[in-house]
């Protein structure tokens, strides 16, 4: 019984991280119809930079903020230099470019920081919280994960729903040409979209690092799970990313807990395949949503 509870809590915590990744992917999809395969690697790179800064004695929260800021810039730069020139070409081209970026970043991280796994210090204690006499597999750090991802979700929804910038972003995503005719500087909006998505990704990277073996490849699986979460959630909405993340997190945790960790990616794959056959447009997709 306690295994079940712990695995479930673990699933929720992981699910939040996947939701953050999914959010980043959804953000970019809504803005540009591109899946950024380098999302995880970009997050990894900014987290490694934070790691170096911590090594040099910078305070935890300063390094945290620095990583997010660098993520913002990195996202903008990638969009401007690699993605923008490919506008008008087949959609598959920028996707391949992001795959290239993924391995370039992993290679660069490997050559700068080496291959071996290290430890990344967590923001808060990782020991399980105590309820009465029982210790649960949910720590202060997990609460932090939950809180920060929820905060980013809410901020994103608010951005899209209530702000003028959000309206411009939605217009740029749904009908870029019409948006231009309405004076929206679609190019700048796209760059901003990528920048914000990269921040979400960087956050995910910082949240995952303490819980895994911190090496240049540590985000690969999270990209995979984040992607699954995004597709299940429908690729349209932050709420979808959240729900998709939770479902994926729980599924992966149960598979890991009861069947072994090496089967987790296949568990995600099975989940993805089932979801695609049962409800291809995802959970939160509106009726007139695009068929992915």
């Amino acid at each position: 019984m306690s295994l079940f509870v712990n695995v479930t809590l673990n699933g929720v915590a992981n699910g939040m991280v996947f939701a953050a990744m999914a959010l980043a992917l959804v953000f970019i999809f809504r803005a540009t119809s591109i899946v950024n395969f380098a999302q995880g690697a970009m997050a990894m790179f900014t987290t490694f930079i934070a790691f170096s800064l911590l090594d040099r004695g910078l305070g935890y929260w300063e390094a945290f903020a620095a990583a997010l800021a660098i993520g913002l810039v990195l996202g903008a730069v990638v969009e401007r230099i690699l993605i923008r020139p490919l506008r008008g070409k087949p959609e598959i081209n920028p996707v391949i470019v992001t795959i290239g970026l993924l391995i370039v970043l992993e290679g660069m991280a490997g050559s700068i920081w080496g291959n071996s796994a290290r430890g990344f210090p967590p923001a808060f204690s990782q020991t399980g919280l105590k309820f009465g006499h029982t210790k649960v597999a949910f720590s202060h750090f997990d609460v932090f994960i939950l809180g920060s991802v929820l905060a980013i979700m809410v901020a994103t929804m608010a951005l899209f729903r209530w702000t003028n910038l959000g309206l411009r972003m939605r217009a740029s995503a749904f009908a870029p040409e019409v948006a231009r005719l309405l004076g929206v500087r679609v190019g700048r909006i796209l760059t901003l979209g990528w920048a914000l998505a990269a921040v979400a990704g960087s956050l995910a990277g910082l949240l995952v690092a303490p819980t895994s073996s911190f090496s240049p490849y540590y985000m690969d699986l999270n990209l995979v799970f984040g992607f699954t979460a995004a597709v299940i959630g429908g690729l349209e909405s932050p709420a979808g990313a959240l729900v998709g993340g939770l479902i994926t997190g729980l599924c992966v945790s149960y598979v890991g807990g009861y069947l072994g960790s090496s089967l987790q990616p296949l568990g995600a794959l099975a989940l993805l395949m089932v979801a695609l056959m049962a409800r291809p447009q995802g959970i939160f997709a509106r009726p007139e949503a695009r068929r992915v």
């Binding site: 690699l82 370039v104 290679g107 995503a173 089967l263 794959l269 993805l272």
Partner: protein, 391 residues
């Protein structure tokens, strides 16, 4: 359509530009294969043992790349999981070799079959996904499938993996040469079959689905089935390549099929030219020799051990980025374009021929991943799906 004799004479390019293979595609492909076969035979007898091994490696990668080229270039489905499909072929062959006494040919056919089946299994839900999302799903396959072998290590040999037996050469033929011939034969036969497939109604269906699913289904093409067939075919090619890989290295384990293999295959295909078959030779050469080139580059620039280990992967990534941005049709596309330009220049025909009118000058005839074969029209921004304008 009345042309005077002098008009026709002026339009026909010089004889040495016209000298080419027979008109009929089937014969043309066949004669090419025969010529290539002879050429390779001569080559293998001239090469050393080690170089023959590498030549065989090139051939097996051509097989995998050609399959992927058809899937991605002709049918528009991006797969990041072909390394895993190669693993399926390799493990099938290894398992049969270890647990049965079947003929090598049967074992190889089984490998092709098993990976084709896997292609169908993955291909069916994949029909619900568009380009990048399909790629994501195949990425999960690439990451997840090898882990299966780790999990059930008693069957799959775990870290050590399974051993394979080299095919015994008839008579006094050098076993390495024999193996290389088999691999080359595999590559040439694969290319022959794929070339004919692309010219058949299947090929037309592939391209129709790639260009416009709705239009294709309105023309009576069963879109989902076409996509699954393309996937199965390319998976079979990957399986064949995997079988050869397993046989030539003598061992099959998960270490041989990391994610970087799948990405390397993608890079090789992109470099060679998505949609092209001949171009895959370039890609395969790059794949096989890149690690060596990377090491010598880092040695000559004194980049240190840390970098040289990763240089090869960094170069793969840069290839993907640079090729996609500057020359999306890859090497073969570039060559074809150059040849067209050369031909027009030399034959002295003033006006552009009819087909050229409908291409942008920078893009080659065969519609590939890099181009849109549409008649002009200004570049529309790729909004998600189409513009949501009403009526």
């Amino acid at each position: 359509m009345s042309e005077t004799a002098s008009e026709t004479a002026a339009q026909r390019p010089a004889w040495w530009l016209r000298a080419r293979f027979p008109e009929q595609p089937m014969l043309r492909h066949l004669s090419f294969v025969v010529l290539a076969g002879v050429g390779f035979y001569l080559l293998t007898s001239a090469l050393s043992q080690y170089d023959n091994f590498r030549l065989g490696e090139i051939a097996l990668y051509v097989t995998a790349l050609a399959g992927l080229s058809v899937l991605t270039g002709a049918n528009g489905q991006l797969s990041l999981g072909h390394g895993a499909l190669m693993a399926v072929g390799a493990y099938t062959t290894a398992l049969l070799m270890n647990h049965s006494h079947l003929n090598l040919v049967v074992e190889i056919l089984a490998a092709i079959g098993a990976s084709a089946v896997m292609g169908i299994v993955v291909g069916i839900p994949a029909t619900r996904l568009k380009g990048p999302y399909l790629a994501g799903m195949t990425l999960i396959l690439a990451v997840g499938l090898p882990l299966l072998a780790d999990k059930y290590s008693s069957v799959f040999g775990g870290d050590q993996g399974l051993t394979t037996t080299q095919p015994s050469a008839p008579g006094s033929i050098n076993p390495q040469e024999w193996l290389t011939w088999i691999e080359i034969a595999g590559a040439l036969v694969t290319m022959l079959l794929l070339a004919n497939l692309l010219r058949s109604r299947f090929g037309r269906a592939f391209r129709a689905v790639r260009d416009d699913e709705i239009a294709a289904s309105l023309s009576g093409i069963h879109v989902a089935r076409t996509k699954v067939i393309a996937f199965a075919v390319s998976a079979g090619c990957a399986g064949l390549a995997g079988a050869f890989l397993g046989i030539s290295t003598g061992v099959v384990n998960t270490g041989e099929f990391p994610l970087s293999l799948s990405i390397g295959i993608l890079a090789g295909m992109v470099l060679g030219g998505a949609g092209s078959l001949m171009g895959m030779w370039w890609g395969a050469v790059a794949l096989v020799y890149l690690p060596d080139w990377a090491t010598s580059i880092s040695k000559s620039f004194n980049l240190g051990n840390g970098v040289s280990a990763y240089l090869a992967t960094i170069i793969y990534g840069l290839v993907l980025i640079v090729v996609m941005m500057l020359a999306p049709s890859g090497i073969q596309g570039g060559l074809r374009l150059g040849a067209t330009k050369l031909r027009t220049l030399l034959s002295g025909s003033g006006g552009a021929n009819v087909t050229a009118q409908f291409q942008k000058p920078e893009e080659p005839v065969m519609a590939t991943i890099g181009s849109r074969g549409t008649a002009g029209g200004d570049k529309r921004e790729p909004g998600p799906g189409s513009e949501r304008t009403d009526s």
